[in-house]
Symmetry: C2
Subunit: 460 residues, 2 copies
């Protein structure tokens, strides 16, 4: 059994468990009350706030505990947008933010606000110059993650914060993926985090709002947590969150080096062991424990099931593993292959043997899925044939359209074209990505009688 | 040590603790994932939902877990108001709802909606006829608590639900105080609850929305909990909440009878043992463990400190114990005395000896506070004096204005008046309440050069 999905939720850290147990008997009462049980709860809450502030690098009275990272982002975005409404209603987000940020942006747009989405390069990184170009006199807020949750790429937060600061615009940093490894550097204004990403319990998010940032909490008023997070505080969980953050930080440097070495083995090993694979994300500026790759001609859900049967828990940004049947917005924004996508995110303490076993098992798992789907052999010899071929993949889902394309590309002469008809959303991303991987020329798409026609010219 | 503030937060039930511990290792993963840890988390979540549905008396797919009772109320009120916006923007609440409901109503008003507040009688009970009179063609939602959190009075929910149903208006019931004792009867449409009120952990609220109720969740979209409660589910806490609800229900009838007998002792004992006390709330239709009384000429905060020193943790609706320096809105709506207010709410398992000791300690604690404040003796003899007296209590806080009034009432002849000048918000409630308790005539208030003048005629 190897759980390789720490970027979704990390297993509870032993220190979190101990702190939770210890505070169940001390931290259940209302910290706003004056009697002894209330005072005891208040002491625990205050101490947890101090500990978190130290780990984040802020003042204790800037820290608000929310019920989740998602709620921290929602409250942070809406609070700053409302607080700075007189400046304007323009919001900037990157294209690869967590859904909680993008959904906040959608809600802002639906309420009449304006949103600029900053693009990313093929590694998922933003360019500070793009933020500079997006800033306007009516920009109320800019958002940028500290590191990407799907591919692990670390963003240039300090540089973007500097650009924003120069324009007088606060920057909200979604630090959910990186807080375990260290504080976020640079002059950010608002920060969001989530305890269960660092080995803390579920039920605790962090919202940090720097003094001086105009902030107007939305929704019904409530006096708890400086009026910024309504509802009774979950003190045992907050205590556990604070204690475990301190604990993971104490181990962070050593563990980061170890996990970086393990993910480097996967980054290097997968393309060597599995044909037709694209490893995505920045090879250097990345989270220690995350590595993501996509496998041509593979159904992501089938591959996840194969790996689960072998005892590996991983996640995927493939369209077939999402409820909406569209590929992950991160892979889409990067313009990389989404089919057969696998994200491996190692929790602290991952054993070397488990990573080695993963590398031993993966080639067979991928080959098995490809065989069932009738995928082309990795090195199919080129056959000269007719000048143009039409592939009707209508009604067929990822990865079938790409498999059909790969099967016929050898049948057209060099210079000839293949026209793939598809109504699967993933094809829009995966056919160009296949062309790039295979050295063929992607000519573009055009509407067809049914679905869309994707045109590919054989180059080699 | 006796904790008598279960209506704020109940100590963790042993079953909740066990269930929480047991599920920490099984319930931390993302229940939306397909691998084994995710499936295990999903199973726990589904089972908890079934158990809660059975206890509430609804379908499992009508239950949504929120991070707190407050968040359940906020989401429930805003969701129905938005879902029924085409019907209208009129909201009905009772005057004695929990602050989460009243703050939701304020937010609705601030956004341009209309709110009707249904009054209560001196016991805090609403009259179903008042709801019938408040209903309008544009009423989108009515709200009523199952039982009052400050004085324990049980509301006629089934009757009000019937009135609402006849008008086609959904009724939202805040059942936070009563869910431990049994399901809410009658045809309610939406229900909110809070696990830490029944001995479950902090961090879990319930929102139940009956099928067929138009509901449009507000805020950014999120796919968890049917799109009605954003953020990662806190599954160990949810499991503990469900298990403890089942456990307290198994003991509910026996424990309700026992606590009812203990609170009856307090209801009967306090007026016998302490002079100048008003026991408030309905003597029959009430929660088993709650009893509330107010003591003339007593500073609520000082009394709470005295009781805390004696080992009793209770709460108060007096103005001096609130951050806003206004008396509890519940006591205000009932029109009863607010000074020296004490709410005793016994948790299940309260020992008889602790209640007896409370009754033994209370008279001395009250007498001590009164002595420090220089309160009049309980039976001060009437002295005939001048025809009108002015008491300047400007700048003095509860209970001083009433103490000053009581000191001079004997100085005016029967038929004479006392004019109390006060700028303390509690005086508006407590001077009329004192008149009622003392058999004197309250003539009303009028603006004074500074503060307000309260006019009292000596009758006896």
């Amino acid at each position: 059994m190897a759980y390789f999905d720490a970027a979704s939720a990390a297993p509870l850290h032993p220190v979190a468990r101990q702190a939770l147990l210890a505070s169940l008997d001390e931290g259940w009462a209302d910290p706003a009350r004056l009697y002894r049980e209330g005072r005891r709860a208040r002491l625990l809450l205050d101490a947890a706030r101090e500990a978190v502030a130290e780990a984040v690098g802020c003042r204790a009275d800037e820290v608000v505990f929310t019920p989740s990272g998602t709620r921290a982002v929602h409250a942070g975005v809406s609070g700053v947008l409302a607080g700075r409404r007189r400046t304007g209603r323009h919001l900037i987000v990157s294209a690869v933010e967590h859904s909680s940020v993008l959904h906040s942006a959608e809600a802002h747009e639906a309420a009449g606000g304006e949103v600029t989405t900053v693009p990313v390069d093929r590694t998922a990184a933003v360019d500070p110059a793009s933020y500079a170009a997006a800033l306007r006199p009516d920009t109320a807020l800019a958002c940028l993650q500290s590191a990407n949750h799907e591919v692990g790429t670390v963003q240039p937060v300090a540089e973007v914060a500097e650009v924003c600061r120069a324009a007088g615009v606060p920057l909200l940093v979604d630090a959910a993926q990186s807080l375990a490894w260290g504080p976020v550097r640079g002059g950010w204004s608002v920060l969001a985090g989530s305890a269960h990403k660092w080995g803390g319990p579920s039920g605790v998010g962090l919202l940090v709002v720097r003094k001086g940032v105009r902030f107007a909490p939305q929704g019904p008023v409530d006096e708890r947590e400086s009026g910024r997070a309504p509802g009774f505080e979950n003190i045992p969980a907050i205590v556990a969150a604070a204690a475990s953050l301190r604990a993971v930080r104490a181990e962070a440097d050593r563990e980061a080096a170890r996990l970086r070495e393990l993910t480097e083995r996967i980054r290097a090993g997968v393309p060597r062991l599995v044909p037709d694979v694209e490893v995505v994300g920045d090879p250097e500026r990345r989270l220690p424990g995350v590595v993501t790759f996509s496998c041509l001609y593979v159904d992501g859900e089938a591959l996840l099931h194969e790996l689960d049967r072998e005892g590996f828990s991983v996640s995927s940004g493939s369209s077939c593993t999402s409820s909406t049947l569209t590929p992950s917005h991160v892979l889409k924004a990067m313009g990389v292959l989404s089919e057969g996508n696998v994200r491996v995110s190692l929790p602290p303490g991952t054993a070397e043997e488990d990573v080695e076993r993963f590398l031993a098992v993966l080639p067979g798992a991928v080959a098995g899925v490809r065989e069932k789907l009738g995928a082309p052999a990795p090195a199919a010899p080129a056959v000269v044939g007719a000048g143009e071929r039409v592939v009707d993949a209508l009604g067929k889902r990822c990865p079938i359209p790409v498999i059909e394309l790969a099967k016929v590309i050898g049948d057209v002469p060099v210079g000839g074209t293949v026209r793939v008809l598809s109504d699967d959303e993933a094809a829009r991303l995966d056919i160009p990505a296949w062309c790039e991987m295979r050295g063929q020329e992607y000519l573009g798409e055009e509407p067809a009688e049914k679905g869309t026609a994707y045109l590919v010219r054989r180059v080699s």
